[in-house]
């Protein structure tokens, strides 16, 4: 009898408590993520009007369009070159509706578009980003400089768009290829790694000098991960910038393989041919042995931190170690990249992408 009364009394406490605990809260649970600059960013709900500004905005845009949500939620991005992007018109039926603020838009200009999230590429805080925060516009920083950052940034975008599954898929796409390259290179002794010189041709004095990338940049990382020995690692620039090296230094390094990133205005094939014909360059073993190539690109370079870097890496692995990567077929890779990540058909790829590749990508 006493137990019953106690239980009844307890029930008055417990049952309402259970009811309260199980009912949905008055507001939706907030979205929270940590961005590449180490900041914790909170959203009440998943953003619906996203704008991209800052350096290399089309890199982020190219990444966003791997997610179907972007079509409705991406307002546009800062236009830093002649166009917003040469590639996205192929995959974005609403391209005409996108907004492209001119270079370096001011805070007021950004605010006038009423974004509920602004994406900026970088790992340290920027003045523009800070200014936007002050007017209540959330800012998310994305690194996108190396494979590790890419993995995290793809996750971030997945959380932002509330589609972690897609992020998982995209990351798996990259990871499969990274794993394949690692497997293919397993057991490779250090001595068998060819010495590689990767540089960008210069417009001025390009016959006798090139520029090598910074140590932390994607280009250097690509060479390392593809099983090459970058000869320029000791050179001045560490975290940022291209450094000019003259031909004496190039001769001194005498790399086994030379890969040139050809400036957008120059033609890769004729540039390589000119170099092959030059008597000074011919003295280098890479040129003599025919091991001088142009880094391929389609509408955007495969050497830059654009999402295409995985194509560049696959190509590089094949080029440096053909024996170990005989099964890698670049045409298949290209079709997979644009097909799985952007939903382009093989016919589309053949029509729109392949013709834009000016260098030998096979």
């Amino acid at each position: 009898m006493l137990v019953n009364r106690i239980l009844a009394r307890l029930a008055w406490v417990i049952i309402p408590g259970l009811l309260v605990a199980s009912s949905p809260s008055g507001q939706p649970s907030p979205l929270e993520l940590k961005d590449a600059a180490g900041r914790v960013v909170r959203f009440d709900k998943s953003p619906r009007k996203i704008l991209i500004i800052g350096h290399g905005p089309q890199i982020i845009a190219h990444l966003m369009f791997m997610f179907p949500e972007s079509r409705d939620r991406l307002i546009g991005w800062e236009r830093r070159g002649a166009t917003g992007s040469d590639f996205i018109p192929f995959i974005d039926p609403d391209y005409a509706k996108r907004v492209f603020p001119g270079p370096n838009p001011g805070v007021e200009q950004v605010a006038a578009l009423h974004p509920d999230a602004v994406l900026i590429r970088g790992i340290s805080l920027e003045a523009k980003g800070e200014a936007l925060l002050k007017v209540g516009i959330p800012v998310v920083y994305l690194g996108l400089e190396n494979p590790a950052q890419y993995r995290q940034d793809i996750d971030r975008i997945g959380r932002l768009l509330e589609n972690p599954g897609r992020a998982e898929t995209v990351n798996r796409f990259y990871q499969i290829r990274l794993d394949r390259i690692d497997r293919g290179l397993s057991g490779l002794p250090e001595m068998e790694k060819p010495s590689v010189l990767l540089g960008m041709t210069l417009k001025r004095g390009g016959k006798i000098a090139i520029e090598v990338p910074a140590r932390a940049w994607m280009q250097t990382i690509q060479v390392l991960r593809a099983g090459g020995r970058p000869v320029w690692l000791d050179t001045a620039a560490i975290s940022t910038g291209w450094t000019v090296v003259n031909i004496e230094q190039i001769a001194r390094w005498d790399a086994e393989i030379i890969i040139l990133v050809i400036m957008y205005a120059m033609d890769p094939r004729s540039t390589i041919e000119e170099i092959r014909a030059d008597s000074t360059w011919r003295a280098m073993r890479a040129v003599r042995n025919g091991e001088i190539r142009a880094f391929p690109s389609d509408l955007y370079g495969w050497d830059s931190p654009d999402p295409r870097w995985i194509l560049g890496l696959s190509w590089l692995a094949r080029t440096l170690h053909p024996g170990r990567f005989q099964t890698v077929d670049m045409k298949t890779e290209i079709e997979a990249f644009f097909g799985e990540l952007y939903g382009m058909t093989k016919a589309d790829v053949a029509l729109k992408i392949l013709p834009t590749i000016k260098a030998d990508y096979r």
Binding site: H55, G56, R80, G81, A82, P103, L202, K203, R204, G205, G206, K207, I208, A209, V212, W232, D234, T235, A236, A237, W242, T243, V244, V245, N246, I247, E248, Q249, A251, R252, M263, Y264, A265, S279, T280, A283, M284
Partner: protein
Amino acid sequence: MIFETHRIGRRRTWILAVLSVVILAGSVLLGRYPGPIVTPISVIESDALARDLILHVRLPRIGAAFLLGASLAAAGAVFQTVFRNPLVDAGFLGVSQGAAFGASLAIVFAAGNAGVIQAGAAVFAFVGLALSYGLARRIRLGDEILRLVLSGIVVGAFYAAGTGILKYVADPQKQLPDITYWMLGGLWGITGRDFLELLPVVVLGLAYILAMRWRLNLLAMKDETAFSLGAAPGRERLAMLIVAVAVTSVGVAKAGQVAWVGLIVPHIARRLVGSETRTLLPASILLGGIFVLGCDDLARIVLSGEIPLGILTSFLGTLLFLALLLRKKIGGLE
């Protein structure tokens, strides 16, 4: 040559001449291949690539560096004397700003074709001079020198603003770094052909300046007084400036902006040999060549990457100048 001070000055100029030969010869043996610093003669005899590099890469570059330094220093001395102002160099009449503007214009609008950049720099340097003169005519204030100074400032500022706008509209990935690099100056791209294009203009220009260096003294006086001594100050001044601008702009067109040489080298030369232009000009020319060549040697051999020449000339130039300023007396030429 007659006065005591001239004797000292002449002797020192001869020393500079000997030094020039030494550094020119020595520079041939310096380079990164096979490196890291010195190329022994034995290597030159045995390695065809070394010979090839010396012939096609090092020699043109060394020659160009020397010519560049010589012309910048000569132009600086001319400008400082003509404008009676120790703080000027060839950039004073909007010349170097014009060159920067022309090069930036080519980089942004002409896909940065090397030939177009050089032409643009040279053309706009001259336009700067012409604009300064044209503007000076319309100003009613003071004598010709003051008017030129004022219009030079205006034209230079105008060009600098124009370059700023170009930097703003330039593609930050592709074009802006090009502009920035050009502004820092560098000789890593000099080929034999560049050197041969430089040579006639510089040699002829310097020959003219050397031939007329005595008259330069007159141009430093008041115009009426120079006139009374038989000079045609306006005409002679213009001729001198045109030649000085010509030799400067071809060098700048090929090498980008190399700062401080025109400003500092004549001062250092003045401290060594005196202000009288018959000794000052040859000394400036030799000293300028030695200085820029020395800096360029450092630029291309110290690190595996190239150090921008402008950084070295500014840094070392100001150090040298400071050292000279702090020494109270240099052998009677105080």
